[in-house]
Amino acid sequence: MRIFLKVWRQATPRDRGGFVDYTAENISPDMSFLEMLDVVNESLIVKGQDPIAFDSDCREGICGTCGFLVGGVPHGPDPGTSVCQLHMRRFKDDDRLVLEPWRARAFPVLKDLVVDRSAFDRIIQAGGYTSVNVGGAQDANLILVAKTASDKAMDSAACIGCGACVAACKNASAALFTSAKVAHLAFLPQGQPERATRVVAMVERHDAEGFGSCSNEGECEAVCPKEIPITNIAHMNREYLRAMLVTRD
């Protein structure tokens, strides 16, 4: 296979950057998309040129490190698939693809396709946990959790924090990311003591980081590699309303 690529190249965070054309030759359909980029990079390195910087780590779709837009869609065209699990058999010979980094004020570009997603850490830091210290826990089976609640919590907790939701959203909102954690803990008895303070703190941090607000379009859900639905966002809104207008702490 041969693929024509138009890739965003930007040497430093302050650099203006621009698109550069590359041709990926001798690509096997069984390669993953990132392996195809590895091949392109190998050819650049041999020529003494700076290879295309892109993030990746586990390459099995769970660490959330990789991600950029392939042909205008975060993580590319396959539903429920991160770009490391996207395979070249999905494309046709001589396809032309534009590769762009996530774009958001809260995700500044560091280099080429690599962006700084530390804003996500700070949202979690604001309240995405239960405040339990090591050592004080009761026996695990003393906390009963209905299977349905546990399953739903797991559905939300499956978020890998890749940032595709932000990239896809026309408002660069991180509502899906934030709500997935809010919902995960709100479903469980362990999350109840901090249920109100958590959602308020996380939403405020979300806003302070410069993410936009949700327009309920569901582009985030459609590109999410874990297919986390925007029902989580409704859940977060509900939790927020309850926290601000019902709870008295």
Binding site: K6, W8, F19, L69, G71, G72, V73, P74, P79, V98, E100, R103, A104, R105, A106, A168, K170, N171, A172, S173, A175, V200, V203, E204, H206, D207, G210, F211, G212, S213, C214, S215, N216, E217, G218, E219, E221, A222, V223, E227, P229, I230, T231, I233, A234, H235, M236, N237, R238, E239, Y240, L241, M244, L245
Partner: protein
């Protein structure tokens, strides 16, 4: 730290809650407005009687002011939110495609600010043309002949076009706005969410097309 009240209203989630609440109120108003105006189809007397009943009610002023406040809040929040959303992505994409799959993104959802601003401009003209428009009186009575005003305006094909366009845009706005309000208010359940989305499309058609029928009907009748 700002007061809890201000925090609720200014956060991204709180803003959406306000948008949803004010949107829902405006939606209810639109339903009533459509029902009232549809009386024009029942003839001159019925219509004028209805309009007289409205304006002679002492509660109408506070209700109008309340409606205006809700409307302005909806507009104000929409504009400030749109601006901060724009600021959240200072550099755009060279190529951005619809994600497809389960996405609900539509012409309606992508044009909310545009359709909304158009409607804002339209409402100013609309209120000026009718509420503060030419005052005719029903013969031998103190009742305002709003029917006459309506015929006068809709004799002009230009205004008919503007009104039809505007009401269709209201429909388009509601197409996304109706279901979106429920999502923003956190009202989501497997039982009804999909039905509500379908209902939103129906309401959008009803209000958009229903209101558009009136100027067209008047134009062709007179």
């Amino acid at each position: 730290m700002p007061s809890r009240f201000r925090r609720v209203l200014s956060s991204s989630v709180g803003t959406k809650l306000l948008m949803g609440l004010t949107g829902a109120a405006l939606f209810v108003y639109m339903l009533l407005h459509l029902a009232g105006n549809a009386l024009i189809l029942a003839g001159e007397d019925v219509f004028n009687e209805y309009s007289h009943m409205l304006i002679s009610n002492p509660l109408i002023l506070p209700i109008e002011l309340g409606l205006l406040a809700v409307f302005l809040l909806h507009v104000y929040k929409a504009v400030t939110m749109w601006m901060s959303n724009r600021a959240a992505r200072p550099v755009g994409y060279l190529k951005k495609e619809l994600a497809g799959h389960t996405s609900r993104k539509s012409l309606s959802s992508s044009t909310m600010i545009g359709s909304g601003l158009f409607i804002l401009g339209f409402v100013v003209i609309h209120v000026k043309q009718f509420k503060f428009g030419t005052f005719y009186q029903v013969t031998d009575s103190t009742v305002r002949d709003l029917y006459q005003t309506e015929i006068e305006v809709f004799q002009n094909p230009f205004w008919v076009t503007v009104y039809v366009l505007a009401t269709l845009l209201v429909g388009l706005h509601l197409r996304h706005g109706f279901a979106s309000a429920f999502q923003s208010l956190g009202l989501d359940h497997p039982l009804y969410t999909r039905r509500l989305t379908a209902l939103g499309v129906l309401f959008a058609l009803l209000i958009g097309v229903g209101l558009a029928v009136i100027p067209v009907w008047v134009y062709f009748r007179y």
